[in-house]
Symmetry: C2
Subunit: 342 residues, 2 copies
Amino acid sequence: MTDTTSRAASPTLDEVAVLAGVSRATVSRVVNDSPKVSPEARQAVLSAVAQLRYVPNRMARSLVTRRTDTVALVLNEPNTQVFSDPFFASIVRGVSATLADTDLNLVLLTAQDEREQEKIGRYARQGHVDGVILMSVHSDDPLPDILEEAGIPLVLCGRPFDDRAVAYVDADNRGGAREAAAYLAASGRRRIATITGPLDMIAGVDRLAGYQAGLAAAGQEVRADLLAEGDFTEVGGARAMAALLERAPDLDAVFVASDPMAVGALRALREAGRRVPEDVAVVGFDDAAVAERCDPPLTTVAQPLTDMTPLLTELLLRQIEGVGEQAESRVCRTHLVRRASA
Amino acid sequence: MTDTTSRAASPTLDEVAVLAGVSRATVSRVVNDSPKVSPEARQAVLSAVAQLRYVPNRMARSLVTRRTDTVALVLNEPNTQVFSDPFFASIVRGVSATLADTDLNLVLLTAQDEREQEKIGRYARQGHVDGVILMSVHSDDPLPDILEEAGIPLVLCGRPFDDRAVAYVDADNRGGAREAAAYLAASGRRRIATITGPLDMIAGVDRLAGYQAGLAAAGQEVRADLLAEGDFTEVGGARAMAALLERAPDLDAVFVASDPMAVGALRALREAGRRVPEDVAVVGFDDAAVAERCDPPLTTVAQPLTDMTPLLTELLLRQIEGVGEQAESRVCRTHLVRRASA
DNA sequence: CTGAAAGCGCTAACAA
DNA sequence: TTGTTAGCGCTTTCAG
């Protein structure tokens, strides 16, 4: 009796070769789509493969090719709620979709703390992946250094804090926020508040800087009491909005640095009895194409997500292939989409 | 000049051996914590390892050990919003935390459609992982079959639809829902509605069955107009609640099959001017320990998530180690937590 | 177009 | 306690 009990020992190249009546090399060629194989040989191999349900052993293959055909998307989620940020989901879906048509595999790696980040670093250094896309980089993340030093291809989703020579893809957060503030100022608002993102994330910092630049350009003062820090979540946005209303009841506009926060802010405004946009104009920042599904429709700074995710993988693949010397980066333009809220 | 330009060729066991003045076998023993090594040898190896920044090549190791020390957590997310379900995040965090103390790596794999599921199946069959935890199994998912047939250790998070002999961990969804309905009936409610989960997910089905059983046990009729299907999201819950109120304005209680939906339902009730719990009593189902953070506090069926995630990995590891013949499963008890809403 | 042979870096008997 | 040796399954020159 054959072994039905133990874990099925998967067939090897040799077994296929024997069954097909050819050499291992020929089987390998067929499996790897080499053109230099006669139709008969190819056919024999193919049917042997099918019959044996042969699947190549990746470990053996990678050992010699030094390629795993796998890339990792690393999610830093020190905060509980980051996982539910639609921006994350959008990036994951986008990258996943981009890779779906290729023969590359995508694995998601999550880190909740520094220890787990180091574990991920080890995982990568051990040769499990060909490259890494890193999301949600905070100011003190050790992973970029670890990976860079190990020479592992790396692309950041979001501009790094320091000016290191690392590839990244980012939206023009500063430009978009500046445009939003300028727009509010141009439409006659005089007390324009902002709810920022977390200021240990570069998107939070850049969007705040853009808001300040926009006000300055319009000749308006940047008032400290018109600034509240949020955490990119809906609940955080509502809380920040409430705090702003408490602190500066006279505000007549607010630039909210992310759409989930804007949804929360809208709710807080409604509960406070403020009309939007008559009393208070609201402009959000759309990280995940949710603004249009919003109720009421939200004026937002829109990012071209559909451009950004392919770019992310493109830059990574270019590094993996070894094309182009320098770490290449791209900043994607944003644009303001006017809707009923402003 | 040494190669600073090309991808750093990582040092091998032999190089360490040479530098430490021992054989490869000894280095291997040290690296694998074998006790049978003299302190001097160990020390020499250790410093050589440090000096060379040696990291073992996993492919080579796995090729011989037939182990990757990696398990996959597969997320099925055919629906856009599943990613933001706090239940997912909780399971991911829990499993991740459980594994953090071990030397096992966790990778997340996401599938948006059948094609991607098959890609994951291939990934697993190629030997990338030692085992798989599968979340959010829908009625027609091909992955369980693929993995089972390939003999890859598998644990489902949630009971399978058919009665196949596969390991799984689940909450007592039926029992919990039954208790919720019975509780509402016992407190004098007579028109108890329910917002179900998606009925192509077993949790949705089981919670509906429990609700029906609870009503039946209390001698109450199960009215079709008191049932609305939701999708486990907040928006879906609000929509379903609105539909119920339209269809059966006389309802005096509602069992909502997930907490995000319950949050939406509470909002819809508030907007409809119904008081909770005076006019309408609400009981939710807590998939992610969010109920207590709710505002207002939500009466819910609570699941012991802190038991379930370790169990998930425990059952998987037991299969990987080959301990215990049959696929072992566990159903975790739930309990009703009374709060202000019911 | 095909096969023989030499490794990829590591572990695991088996001897010493 | 240590070293020697033989592979793990695959790709890839290099001859034929």
